[in-house]
């Protein structure tokens, strides 16, 4: 068992706008102009994505999903970042950004195919401006950077037209910060002054490895040496995450170049449903982080400061239950792909030799079916 204890005390310069106790605090650089109704909407987001998450875990336990990567504890980081996006902006997730998917109106059921094994993602990245989940650690940060190069070439940056100017939000984890690809993305983004915001959810762990295995200094410091600003935000504070991401995306759209945001948060669950964290971390760590729960503080604020009544919370709960039911039923209803589909979309145009392979395969499948019929 680990004898390692995380320095969970927030950095003194970590941006926070809502304390774990639910109190609004001001930050000189990140004023957030937000109504209580909007905060209530964020609360709803947080609850809904946590519900999707817990439902997916349950579905995995029941054998309906092969795997699930839980976002528990990281809801605020994802909703804050996701709600900072404008329609035309593009997001590049890892495999854990179910909360960002929610903000992009990507239906939870769309996400499940990958984890159920009925497809490999299978959505159109350009439909909701939400890229496919990317499992190869770090690879998507370069895609995001290239997309930002395209934005520049389209003249969709720095025009001052809020409908036109476009930015990219690239997600990655603390572990990913060690990958060559992520650092190359920093090189490109800086050299090209590209409209891309790198959003690192430092959830303290890369499977079993604590962030100290990757870096001995806070990750937000990484970008300065590449020539663009970095900052650390309380990743469990949805308001702070919204504020800093909004500002960074604004800067990007205004042709001010990239920003690195380190959202300091915690992976409350195992890495995935396959993982057993008892082998490498103390349960007490999660206990400490529970006190910083991203939802509780918003609820506390809404109750105490905004005087939101129990009906609101009840209605959100009810809605989340409905969602859960829909996810549950919808997951079970996801159709298995047909054997013939194996050869679909290998290429835009299937070469002759693969047409032959497909035909032979089809014949074989039919012959086996006949045999067993």
């Amino acid at each position: 068992m680990t004898d390692h204890v995380h320095a969970v005390q927030p950095e003194p310069n970590m941006v926070q706008l809502l304390t774990p106790e639910g109190q609004r605090v001001e930050h000189p650089d990140y004023a957030l102009d937000i109504t209580d109704d909007e905060i209530a909407a964020l609360y709803r987001d947080l609850v809904m994505v946590r519900r999707i998450d817990s439902e997916a875990i349950a579905l995995q336990r029941q054998g309906e999903l092969g795997l699930w990567a839980s976002l528990l504890g990281q809801e605020a980081a994802q909703i804050g970042a996701g709600r900072a996006l404008r329609t035309q902006d593009m997001a590049f997730p890892t495999y854990r950004e179910h909360g960002v998917a929610w903000c992009r109106d990507v239906d939870a059921l769309t996400l499940l195919g990958l984890f159920r094994g009925t497809n490999l993602g299978g959505w159109n990245p350009n439909e909701n401006n939400f890229n496919l989940y990317t499992i190869v650690i770090g690879a998507q940060t370069l895609h995001a950077t290239g997309y930002a190069m395209g934005i520049v070439r389209d003249g969709a940056v720095g025009t001052g037209d809020p409908e036109r100017d476009t930015a990219v939000l690239a997600f990655f984890g603390d572990g990913a910060s060690s990958q060559g690809d992520v650092n190359e993305a920093f090189v490109w983004a800086a050299a090209g002054n590209l409209p891309v915001v790198f959003f690192c959810q430092n959830n303290q762990w890369a499977i079993s490895e604590p962030v100290e295995r990757q870096s001995r200094v806070p990750l937000y410091m990484r970008s300065a040496g590449f020539g663009f600003p970095g900052l650390r935000v309380d990743g469990n504070d949805v308001l702070a995450c919204l504020a800093v991401t909004r500002k960074a995306l604004d800067n990007a759209r205004a042709a001010q170049g990239p920003t690195l945001i380190e959202a300091y948060t915690y992976r409350m669950n195992p890495h995935t449903t396959n993982d057993d964290p008892r082998r490498y971390r103390l349960g007490s760590e999660a206990e400490t982080w529970k006190l910083r729960d991203p939802i509780e503080r918003v609820r506390a604020y809404l109750t105490r400061e905004a005087r939101v009544g129990p009906e609101f919370f009840a209605s959100v709960d009810a809605e989340s239950k409905q969602l859960a039911e829909r996810v549950r039923a919808g997951c079970r209803a996801l159709v298995d792909p047909t054997p013939e589909s194996l050869f679909d979309h290998v290429h835009v145009e299937l070469p002759e030799e693969l047409q032959v392979q497909r035909a032979e395969f089809g014949e074989f499948v039919r012959s086996v079916e006949e045999m067993s019929a």
Binding site: T118, I137, S178, I207, P337, E353
Partner: protein, 329 residues
Amino acid sequence: MSQPGERPTLTMAKALNQGLRKAMEADPKVLIMGEDVGKLGGVFRITDGLQKDFGEDRVIDTPLAESGIIGTAVGLAIRGYRPVCEIQFDGFVFPGFDQIVSQVAKFHNRSAGLMKMPITIRIPFGGGIGAVEHHSESPETYFAHTAGLKVVSCSNASDAYWMIQQAVADDDPIVFFEPKRLYHAAKSPIDGTATPLYQARVVRPGEHVTVVGYGPTISTVLEAAAACAEDGVELEVIDLRSISPLDMPTVVESVRRTGRLIVVHEAPNSFGVGAEIATRVQEQAFYSLEAPVLRVTGYDTPYPPSRLEHEWLPNLDRVLDAVDKIMEY
């Protein structure tokens, strides 16, 4: 041969674990390095307990970057160490590909033989475990086509135990493919002695068709052999064990008797291991072949979503189908 009862029985995972332990005991220069290999013991627990017993200096939880893992292993080898690198899953070896093909494979040659690269790169590979994308690939051909590398794969616990020790003790760089879906399958006995590392093994004799496989496909092929035997068709099953170099004498000798050859692997069909074996066999036993060499392999598509993987993989039905086809010649 000693009685099975006398031999210890292990899962393949445990056999690898014990083999690695032996290798570390045998040579203090042996290091294990990779993602999550330390405290966690690897996502498949192959290195379970080793960090505890050999310390953090010898079982190293590295930062998350495969090029870094292989590249630093090269440096360690120059300093006289004997690194065993774990790649967490087959699909994640590619960020380290450059260091493997341009550095690990060539270093001994570039130094005119003055520097050895005794690096073992362990890769859990193959499909059938219901995983998400990039977790079921069979990239062995990339390495087999790379001069300077040796490529081996174990198909059972006993080989796993011995081959990993032989690989670590070998002075050449070796890519070691472990059929992950067999890691935690039934225990099986560990032989008292090792077979030479680069030698294939006839795991079932037969007179009608030679079937060659390695790693995860051997169990399927043996199933097929049992089924065929009921119909009076005797398959001779050869476990290659080493993909590069290839033990062609064993394969050719068999084909000369059977006149028929089927090669089975999970990697995509085209430009795969099957092609190399077929080509060498038709070169070396041209007049013995009574039928073309057939291949039962993954299709030439990306590895499919897991709900389709059993259709895609060289399963029992597909092997039997190939036997039917080849017997028609």
